[in-house]
Subunit: 239 residues, 2 copies
DNA sequence: TATTGGCGTCTCAATATCTGAGATGCAAGT
DNA sequence: ACTTGCATCTCAGATATTGAGACGCCAATA
């Protein structure tokens, strides 16, 4: 796949932002990470600072800027998080299991909202937890509809296979048994953005003993419905 | 103030992202909003789509892309939200009032986390609520340390004055009485990002009868402390 | 049904912007 | 005191970007 957008400066700026995703980065580190010439990186980084897409920390290192959070909020993140609470609590109560929403974060998925089953044996995933993109039903959802290159990258060293992901796309939901942690089962469904692309996964998880070896059979419908409600919550603020 | 960064393409791309902050936008609307030539906007928007900073909705309109949410998460937003829960609950319990965190969103401030006083008379601000940047102690905090142009813009039509903001900068906290809503008092303190810039405001709010006409006198210390804890939560993930 | 207008997309000659080698300044280390 | 590494800046030259105009498509209108 062609890796350039047709606007060289934007390609380079995207490289800088990608490099900063890992955390505070000196100019020298940015030069190494992006492969660009030092004055080029310097000029682009200062331009991004000007627009608050990047900032500098107290040691002068470059960091991702607060404008990105503003834009993320405008992209609907706040509405997703606001809608998540009631919908996850409904999902928790309907299924009797803990419910979560995950977003992709590079090679990880991050829990951005959760509603925990209050008593007894339960799978606890606090907000902020980073889990692997290589295992679990939420990872399957976040990878299944990616374009070819990102799909192949997602499958590399993953606990699931292309055949499993084909099934996910066909059924519209995913299930896993003991992929992330022995004894834990989970079911997930997609949350889609305005373009129809998958931007998050809504999930329940709990012990295999309670969820059985076919947790999707019983729970897929209510989880898919939660995904649709969340998708609508994102759209509602735009039209 | 010079409004260009020195890299023209990045200036133009920032104009496009700014225009999309308002919601789904056709190419024609983007051309009007940015003042750029149609093929230029088209080319830049497609380049941003390529990098997932922008997407297209089902009607072909341009929208802000999910990569922005990923980058916002990497900028610490998730860690702030994760840390917010316990810290806001501590603040609520210590002060006996509802506690919130606000981020700036253009001409608005958005509640991104809250912990509500469970009983009796209380100020309820659900997550996702958009409040004015022209009134309230959180608005004062979000404006007080801005650069000159954004400071002047923030003061335009505001319920607070330059003298009030000078006091905010000196004391490190803000208070307001009935600015946003009659009968409601609030106190706020800054949450700072890695660069030391204010990226959010942590607040309590409640009835003037309970908070008195000098709410900062009694509560400022514990709110400033909450701001420092949240600031540290953002930094901890980076070093 | 035919025509018109508006919008999105594409081309490419012209030129303005961007690039990066090299210079400079500074601070930390030896 | 000297050296090294890093950040910042300059500017001649190269090339990427620009935007006028063309094209295609579709919805609205006569």
């Amino acid at each position: 796949m062609d890796n350039t957008s047709g606007v060289g400066v934007i390609d380079k700026a995207a490289l800088v932002l990608d490099a900063l995703e890992a955390g505070p980065t000196t100019l020298a580190q940015l030069v190494a990470a992006t492969g660009l010439a030092r004055p080029t990186v310097h000029r682009l980084a200062l331009a991004l600072v000007h627009h608050r897409l990047v900032a500098r920390d107290m040691q002068g290192r470059f960091v991702l800027g607060s404008r990105l959070v503003e834009l993320a909020s405008a992209a609907g993140e706040d509405r997703l998080i606001a809608a998540a609470g009631p919908i996850l609590m409904q999902l928790r109560d309907a299924t009797g299991e803990s419910a979560q929403i995950f977003r992709r974060q590079g090679d990880w998925r991050v829990c951005v909202a959760s509603a925990e089953r209050p008593v007894g044996l339960r799978d606890t995933i606090p907000v902020g937890t980073q889990l692997s993109m290589k295992a679990g039903s939420a990872a399957q959802i976040l990878v299944a509809w990616e374009d070819h290159d990102r799909l192949l990258e997602g499958l590399n060293n993953a606990r699931f296979t292309p055949t499993v992901l084909a099934g996910v796309r066909r059924r519209g939901w995913a299930q896993s048994l003991g992929e992330r942690e022995p004894g834990v089962a989970s079911v997930s469904a997609p949350v889609r953005g305005p373009s129809g692309r998958v931007i998050a996964a809504v999930s329940i998880s709990g012990p295999i003993e309670r969820l059985t070896r076919q947790p999707g059979r019983q729970h897929a419908e209510v989880i898919c419905n939660a995904g649709r409600l969340l998708t609508e919550a994102l759209r509602k603020g735009n039209d």
